[in-house]
Symmetry: C2
Amino acid sequence: MSSDVIALASDHGGVELKSLLKQELLQAGHGVLDLGTEGSASVDYPDFAEAMAEAIRQGAAGRGVLICGTGIGISIAANRYPFIRAALVADVTTARLSRQHNDANVLVLGGRTMGAEVARDCLKAFLETPFEGGRHQRRIDKMGLART
Amino acid sequence: MSSDVIALASDHGGVELKSLLKQELLQAGHGVLDLGTEGSASVDYPDFAEAMAEAIRQGAAGRGVLICGTGIGISIAANRYPFIRAALVADVTTARLSRQHNDANVLVLGGRTMGAEVARDCLKAFLETPFEGGRHQRRIDKMGLART
C-alpha cells in the first residue's frame, strides 16, 4: 500500500543523513520512495519540499522525511502546503510530541545539526507514536486551509 | 516605525516565556506588539499564528516571535502564509542560521522545551544577525508563492 511508503527528500546538506535513514527504513521492511537529491551539487531545498508535497498529495507516500542543513528552510517550504504538517524536531522528545499533538506527516531533520544516532531515534519515535486526537484535532483542522 | 516593532504571540504553553522576552525587548528599547494570549486558559495555537501573520501583513510589526509548547504546531500554522518565514530553532546556532540563510522574519520557540537563558540568546541572535543574500535569496523567492 502506498500509504505505508515513506518518502525521503533532502538538499545537498542532507544527502548523507538521508542515505543512512533510507538504509534504516529498508532494513526495517518499510517501502521507501527516494525523491533525491543525490550527490553534493548545490540544489534548492524548496524544490525537494515540493517533490515531497506532490508525493503525499498523489498518494505515492503516506509520510515523509525531509532534510536540509538545519531543517529550517525545508520545513518552511513544506508547510506552505495545507495538507503537509512538517515538524522540525531537535530530539526524540519533540519527535514524539510532533506525532501526539500535531499529527505530523513529515519529519524534518537538520543534516548538519543532528547526529546519526539522534536522527535514528527521532525517526523511530516519528514512525511509532500515535496521534492523540481530541483537542489537538481541532487545532489541526484550523491549519488545513490554504492561505495567501 | 512599525517595521521596527516586534510582535509576540503564543498559546498557553508559551505565556511565561513570552512575558520574559517581552520584558527583555522593552528593556532593550524595542517597540513591542503583544498579540496574546494571556493566562493559562487553553487556546488554539493556529489563532495566534494567524494574528502574527496579519500583524506582519498589515505592517503593524516587521518581525515576530511565536511560542507554543514545542513550537512545532505554531511553526506549521505560521508557515502556511507565503510571506512568513517562521524558523523553529533549538539553540543559538540555528537561530543565527535562520537569519543568515533563511531571512526568517518570525522566530519560533518551544515554551516547554527551551530554557529562559537559551531563549534570550536565540532572540538576540535572531535580532542581530543579517541575511546573507546571494544563493539564499533564490531559494526564498521560491517559497513566496501561495500553495494549495
